[in-house]
Symmetry: none
Subunit: 220 residues, 4 copies
Amino acid sequence: MKSIVEGVLKFQQNAFPQLSTLFKELATTQNPTALFITCSDSRVVPELLTQQNPGDIFVIRNAGNIVPSYSSEPGGVTATVEYAVAVLGVTDIVICGHSDCGAMTAISSCKCLDHLPAVASWLRHADSAKVVNASRTHISDAVRLSSMVRENVIAQLVNIKTHPSVALALEQGRLNLHGWVYDIETGSIVALDGETNRFVSLAEFPQTVATHSKRSALVA
Amino acid sequence: MKSIVEGVLKFQQNAFPQLSTLFKELATTQNPTALFITCSDSRVVPELLTQQNPGDIFVIRNAGNIVPSYSSEPGGVTATVEYAVAVLGVTDIVICGHSDCGAMTAISSCKCLDHLPAVASWLRHADSAKVVNASRTHISDAVRLSSMVRENVIAQLVNIKTHPSVALALEQGRLNLHGWVYDIETGSIVALDGETNRFVSLAEFPQTVATHSKRSALVA
Amino acid sequence: MKSIVEGVLKFQQNAFPQLSTLFKELATTQNPTALFITCSDSRVVPELLTQQNPGDIFVIRNAGNIVPSYSSEPGGVTATVEYAVAVLGVTDIVICGHSDCGAMTAISSCKCLDHLPAVASWLRHADSAKVVNASRTHISDAVRLSSMVRENVIAQLVNIKTHPSVALALEQGRLNLHGWVYDIETGSIVALDGETNRFVSLAEFPQTVATHSKRSALVA
Amino acid sequence: MKSIVEGVLKFQQNAFPQLSTLFKELATTQNPTALFITCSDSRVVPELLTQQNPGDIFVIRNAGNIVPSYSSEPGGVTATVEYAVAVLGVTDIVICGHSDCGAMTAISSCKCLDHLPAVASWLRHADSAKVVNASRTHISDAVRLSSMVRENVIAQLVNIKTHPSVALALEQGRLNLHGWVYDIETGSIVALDGETNRFVSLAEFPQTVATHSKRSALVA
């Protein structure tokens, strides 16, 4: 904790002065254009990864970058998505998984989670990805995990489309959905291509979109 | 979205090479010592604010930096806290609110949230803070909001103590809880002092701990 | 009730003898190839409408032909879909709405449902359809209702894709999803065309499929 | 699916013209007097079995003809019962089980349902019937299953009485409840006699009523 408090003092002395004009502008308003949903993992820093400034991206982080499908019992992710889309009017949502994810490893390797009841319950929102991934043969545990991470991103994209705020924004052509997987060791990102349904290098195909802002996206 | 994708390319070309040794070490392991729970607000960047590197802090972000109390229906925050405390063994949890919070403004000003049903449902986890704050007289709307933000941090600290993993770690003296409020315009932070129950400047009192790692912490 | 009991006796005397060979074959086994999900409405008789015999179609009926998205609290529809797909191995699922639907009328005309708490709660699974339909202008109440019925079928198709059993079957290319709307007065049916995202006459385009049995169906 | 689409065309060409007058009358209204709750099983066609026309019976179908007892989280069956009783004002509700039921077989033979989590969860609403049936000795598996089917109908009759709309209608003497079991091979039906609490042949005792429309019905 000492290094965190020291970090705060360092921020106030060194980093803040350089950003003080920006923070003054941001004091009473924010206008992020994207919602970035990623894992709580300490190694995934969305603002670093996307080189965005304070004020640029609205961020949800939880174990496994999970988005429960809409239900009569909406929780924190659903509420935050609703706020981002219906109040802030973000035009893009990125769901970003990552390599070596602890949550996905637990699923992929069928770990017993009896001692972690809340985690076990939460990961049921990835059940679709789990059964799809388990139905395939993989040449190694590493490939199985890597595939699980990607399938989870796909499953969460399916889930988020059940949210009314998202359905409306897609209908009105003012929202794009993106599915990414970040590799911690190399810094590379692959993005889901909605047309071919494959993950492609974002660096090579920077226009890749998982779901275009067309009504047909909901049913095709 | 264009600036985000360009940011990723910039990250890969400029930022990553400087951090490549660190990222190589982090490729298959993380050892964060703290869990940082804050708002999805685009202006609150925990790693910037605490000057922490990738791998240093585990992060939960949602609208209103809310931690629902433990229930038979655990959601994403509960699962992620459980993972951080029981699996990663973090020694510190910071719950960090901030100035000009949209969620707290909605509560503080009694906004009608009928058109945002998921947000309305989610903010009920701040009801304790709401009724406490509403019971007081405030000299202005700004003071009412500022007070609401602080009361919400206190309420979420009470909520998190209902989690079994947290109760156990506190009992065993291996966890400290911290309540902070970050001011966007000035970059300053006030921290809850568990002994006096007042918020004090973190810069002046860097040792401030909201909840000591003592059994009494559960009832203090 | 008298006519129902008399109907049973009539069935036993007249209808059953003609079908006794079929029923004997069916005594200990069923092999339906399709799951037909439609409304509880007394005017919608799926076996009549599709001219299917006993043993041919597995049927779910509830108010509003609703399929809740998958959650950690699965209910009867989810259980029955799981049974149909994972145990019976149906190759097709039809979600069939209909004209003059009481549930859709309640939503479309913004009826107060305070005295029907269970109905109100249930219809929240059509919230996506509701907000999409409410965002448009309609030239009459009748058109608004007709549009609501169609949007509801689309929303339920989005919901059913979150079910693990459905995701797996789509992945493995052994399931097609179909969205239909039946007009009680004329007996005609329109089917959602997944490529153009329009409803077309089933009589004219009998091959229409809402969602192809391709993995891309999940994300496109 | 081909036979279903062909069946629709056949319906439109042959069956509909004979019923067009009826369907014209039904275009904007339905007045069913009974709610018929039965299994999704493809072999159980309620309108065939009771020789009823479109417009005559309101129908709920799910795996196991289950009616969850009333709870703070009402689902689709509860909503549809509420609609049938409180809005349509049906005077009779039939809960109809059947021979060779897959859901009841799973319970009766203690099948492992780990791979069918939603089914397992749903069948818990038949736990009362399960424990009652398991407490008895049966001379064969076939008898055990047959007994399970009957006990399940009884348990669902108990469950439905917990619904406020049903309790009110019973109190006001405007509703009768009926418990039936249909035998697929022979077409025969046995009905629960509310006075003796035994199942009797409906053909021989057509006046059998499981639960009289008296207040005492709630506790008998």
